[in-house]
Amino acid sequence: MLLEVKNLSVEYITREGRGYAVENASLKIGEGQIVGLVGESGSGKSTLGWSIIRLLPGNARIRSGNILLKGRDIIKMSERTLNKTIRGKEISVIVQDPQNALNPVFTIHTQINDILSLYRKRRGKTERKEEAVSLLTKVGIADARRRIDEYPYCFSGGMKQRVMMVMAFIVNPSLLIADEPTTGLDVTVEAQILEHLKDLMRQYGTAVLYITHDLAVISEVADKVIVMYAGNIVEIANKSELFDSPLHPYTRALINCLPRSTTQEDQLETIPGSVPNIFNLPHGCKFHPRCELAKQICKEKQPLLKRSRSSSHKVACFLV
């Protein structure tokens, strides 16, 4: 098992109060597996993703849990070891907003080169530049040789995203954490990016934790899907299982919300209510205020993730 997260809890401390963004989350990612992490904003999915590499904002604390990468516990590692052995080497990240992901005062070349020189110590300057150019060309950046010496603001959003992918894959990571990489991009660009991503994944055999709120993208890319709500993992299943027979009311509602081209409907479905504020979480099952099936027990106790139907399908609900 490549990555195992056990009972992870992350708390945010702010002036307005303290709250758990992630509570008791457990998941597994196998080698080369593409796992989609789905949830609305505020579900804790990004926090979960960034916790794996321990790059959380200053006011976040990992309160409990283990994160085992190939058996080694990331939480117990020192920052130094983490930086040297894990970040960029075993695990890489690509983020949502390409506008802000690249340092604006350095050329693309400089930025790629710095990573290259870190990991390709024996190669010379020209060799590294050649490699950089070829990597960029592979992801579809035209005229890479000339453009590599430009600054990030000369690049479009999609291109910046591609540059980021190149940088993330230079080191041949075992796991890529993709935090909403295509949100905010045009649909056509999104499709291209996903293609490139899939290519890279196939080429390097990288496992991916694809974090997004867009179920549609998940249905294209993922092997396994994890659904999160308000800090809890509420359902885990294979892609086909999830879309064919979603068990948790939240998952069902999410799937219902997807606009369908096949049926003629006037209104888009929505889920009533809104995602709770982490400082003010409901008792018991966090989804109960918005769940039409909610019973008394849902208000009192928190359901735990347990197996249902098949061994790969888990759900956290009393009513299934």
Binding site: L55, N83, K84, G88, A101, F106, Y151, Y153, M167, V171
Partner: protein, 293 residues
């Protein structure tokens, strides 16, 4: 800003006319009148005349008749050295301090550095000059009390105290500015990304973060340079260094009009120039601005 350049030429004429009037003694008045043709009806003509004269000749000092240009020429390098060394100190000490403070945000180091910065910024430069002079020169006899010194090493020896006093408040100021910008930079997404790629932290701080943090600091440094060139007055007097500031102060005290005119013109020009230089270097550091221009 360049527009102000031309303005400069017009201005010194103004106070001079006022000065030549009520302040000068009768003999002086006559001399001045003759020299500058003040008996001409319109004072504006005076300005034009002086403007032409400025083609190279800045007039002569009233007291000893030496050309003002020469006086300034002698004084300027001293001031420049002082100013540059202070600038140097401010950069070398201030920027790293600010960066360290930001990196160790909210720890004891941070508070210590910021506390010291506040202290130093609140003490006027000549006060710290006096105190330094008192303790290090007079009492402990570590540094010479006045003058420029001869020979490179001795000159540096003489330079240390005044440069330190002059730069102290700026060090504090720069440290605070850099701390502010660094804090901003350190919380940006791209720094986070660079961390995620496994780049060593010191590298990230030194190269990436600093580069981003410096650009606002450059503006400050430009202003600093300008102020230094004009403002070293008190320090120069305290340490008896013959420089531009002291020249201005002395000439004001003695009503040496041509000298005042000349020095004010030069100082103001340098001031504007250094602001311009700061603007331009801003352009180089942050490539985004290049294209906006």
């Amino acid at each position: 800003m360049i527009f102000i350049f031309f303005l400069l030429n017009a201005l010194p004429g103004d106070p001079v006319t006022a000065m030549a009037g009520p302040r000068a003694t009768p003999e002086m008045r006559k001399a001045i009148e003759e020299k500058f043709h003040l008996n001409e009806p319109v004072p504006i003509q005076l300005v034009y005349f002086i403007k032409n004269v400025f083609q190279g000749d800045l007039g002569r000092s009233i007291w000893d008749g030496r050309p003002v240009l020469e006086l300034i020429g002698n004084a300027l390098p001293n001031t420049a050295i002082l100013a540059l060394s202070s600038l140097f100190l401010a950069i070398i000490i201030g920027i790293p301090l600010g960066a360290v403070s930001a990196i160790h945000h909210n720890t004891f180091t941070d508070f210590l550095i910021m506390g010291l910065s506040f202290l130093v910024v609140s003490i006027p430069d000549f006060v710290s000059a006096l105190l330094l002079l008192l303790f290090l020169s007079v009492t402990l006899n570590l540094f010479p009390v006045s003058g420029l010194g001869s020979g490179i090493l001795d000159q540096i020896h003489h330079l240390i105290l005044p440069a330190a006093a002059l730069s102290l408040p700026w060090i504090g100021y720069v440290a605070r500015v850099v701390r502010g910008t660094m804090l901003d930079v350190l919380s940006t997404p791209y720094i986070k990304m660079e961390k995620s790629f496994g780049l060593p932290l010191i590298f990230i701080w030194g190269k990436y973060a600093l580069r981003n943090a410096i650009s606002p600091a450059i503006a400050t440094l430009g202003v600093m340079m300008g102020k230094l060139l004009g403002g070293a007055v008190l320090i120069e007097i305290i340490f008896t260094r013959p420089g531009l500031g002291r020249l201005v102060a002395e000439s004001v005290a003695t009503r040496n009009i041509p000298v005042i005119q000349g020095t004010v013109l030069v100082t103001a020009t340098l001031f504007i120039l250094s602001n311009l230089v700061a603007d331009i270097s801003y352009m180089f550091v942050d490539p985004r601005i290049r294209y906006e221009r």
